[in-house]
Subunit: 347 residues, 2 copies
């Protein structure tokens, strides 16, 4: 009871050699059905649990794949994690999730731990401020890595990301059609890859519409609700405040909407607000949030598949998958109101 039963214990109980037990364990067709049955009942009787540590010591490969997530409290990343996990069901690998809380030091710790446990592959949503070396160290150790949603610039690893830039442009296009001319991009930091891509999308959209961006289009702030509140305050304080804002993500948008409400203003009426990510609750907010959907779950599955492929094919090539970003028009951009005064709008 105190110390676990080993393969040798079952061998004894079943009257065979440990090699045979091992064969049974690995589902080998070599062993006779009757023997297999005897061994299996012995395993149940003794409450045998497989010792993967010992096994991978010999095999030099475990069945762990690590998922290193920057922020599980952000439903966006939680959805991603679940998408990944779902795609890993049925494979021989079992995913262990670790949360880094956007802290590179913690992330380094987690990376180390996963390597120490012999992880076969790692999917990572890198924490802000991750340096390329932290990632390369893993890949050069022979462990395939897939970055999801974010990428560390300079890192030599595969990635699965949404087309942030096109998504941003699409949002602006829509706003321009609704008649807006003064814009701002709220929240996030320039050192986040998603910030650069999404805001660049906004600039692309402006350029295409022949609108010169104001002096302070990009307003950096924490990618949180509080960040959204402060960024919106900042925007309103500008000499020429924007009439429409594209937010770094939905959480920031929630903050922006909140900040408007505090001032007696309403998103979709007094200011157009568009988010990014399309988290599940975006549609339950009031007003329902117009946002750029990135197919979070789908990207998660894609990342898992990519990782599995890289694991199978001994020597993985670095590849990148860019998923589509679609604008989901709801209420917070004022499309409903505009709808009455202008003609119908299709995203």
């Amino acid at each position: 009871m105190s110390s676990r039963a080993t393969i040798i214990d079952i061998a004894g109980k079943a009257g065979v050699s440990k090699s045979t037990v091992s064969l049974v364990l690995s589902g080998s067709p070599l062993v006779k059905a009757e023997t297999r049955a005897r061994v299996e009942t012995a395993m149940i009787d003794l409450g045998y649990v497989y010792n993967r540590g010992a096994a991978s010591l010999r095999k030099a490969r475990s069945n762990i794949v690590g998922m290193v997530i920057n922020d599980l409290l952000n439903p966006f990343f939680a959805e991603l994690a679940v998408g990944i996990e779902r795609a890993l069901q049925g494979s021989d690998y079992i995913p262990f999730i670790a949360n880094t809380g956007e802290n590179p030091a913690r992330q380094a710790q987690v990376f180390r731990s996963m390597r120490e446990h012999g992880a076969t592959g790692i999917i990572v949503c890198p924490a802000v401020g991750t340096d390329a070396e932290a990632v390369d160290e893993i890949t050069s150790g022979g462990i395939p890595v897939v970055q999801a949603m974010r990428r560390v610039s300079g890192a030599n690893a595969s990635a699965v990301i949404p087309d942030n830039r096109a998504g941003g442009a699409r949002a602006v296009e829509h706003l321009v059609r609704l008649g807006h001319r003064r814009f701002a991009f709220l929240g996030g930091y320039a050192r986040m890859s998603a910030f650069r891509e999404r805001s660049q999308g906004l600039l692309d959209g402006l350029e295409r519409a022949g609108i010169a961006p104001g002096p302070e289009v990009l307003i950096e702030a924490p990618p949180t609700k509080a960040g959204g509140v402060s960024a919106l305050a900042h925007a309103l304080a500008l000499p020429e405040p924007p009439t429409a804002v594209l937010c770094f993500n939905d959480i920031v948008a929630v903050g922006a909407v909140h900040a408007l409400a505090q001032r007696g203003l309403k998103a979709g009426v007094d200011m157009a607000v568009i988010g990014f990510d399309d988290i599940a609750e975006a549609q339950h907010l009031a007003p329902a949030l117009t946002t750029v959907a990135v197919d979070t779950i789908g990207l998660g599955e894609r990342a898992a598949q990519m990782l599995l492929r890289q694991i199978e094919s001994g020597h993985p090539r670095v590849e990148t998958y860019v998923g589509e970003a679609r604008l989901i028009v709801r209420e917070s951009c004022g499309a409903a109101r505009a709808h009455a005064s202008q003609e119908g709008v299709v995203a």
Copy 2:
């Protein structure tokens, strides 16, 4: 490069024996400072990574603690997970999270995997439908288990849970003070421990107020937004519809509010709605959700501490911690409106 460097490789490079390297690894004070330094640079040079599988093979104890969570997409449980993880920082243990998606079969798989990897302890938010045996099998294998937020009835394991019953009663008390007489409890299933406790709290509250519960107070439904929508529809279709509803959790409450809105009704005006859990976005909903807060993060930390204590003390006793449940009055219960017509209300 291909195969990892071992303790013996560094021993060779540093000109010492493998035993000495092992000593350095474990931070023993026996080894001379100079030797330690030589070994350490050798480790860096060779890019050594510790092989925990091999180590725990000898030591029979790994540093993994497992967190088995029923639904990471529910922000409530995500918060719990993060609370736990936070409390585990700084300890020698590293937490691996797995999501069961409320699926007992999947959960069994995860349990097995964690035992196979030699987890030192497990914190579990049991999936609905978990049987006591699934939990007992682990504890009787000598691995301490702490249940969090939910408990499997009959299972012989410690638990950290909120005082659901008192919380439910407190919510009803408040609603009664606002003048409500007809109630319903929406969402969840009677086989969930939290459902039984929370709805019992509602019944307690009614009894204390001398109100006889109607024939269909408890309306079961999935503990999801969709469940909230359908449960509310069911409630409205009753011959004598309730004027106030207590929801199984905040997600259900979101569904209920949504369902009201679809009918042109407003929570807090046409019907009082109270949620449970106080997830982060409860305060950003419109109307802001009145709810019973259970100090999610705090309970998570508590669970982690309890587990660590059980791990340290060789043979763990089964203990239960019950945390406080506080009513947070916001808008969805109509307190604001009542405030104008009646006297001030304190929860």
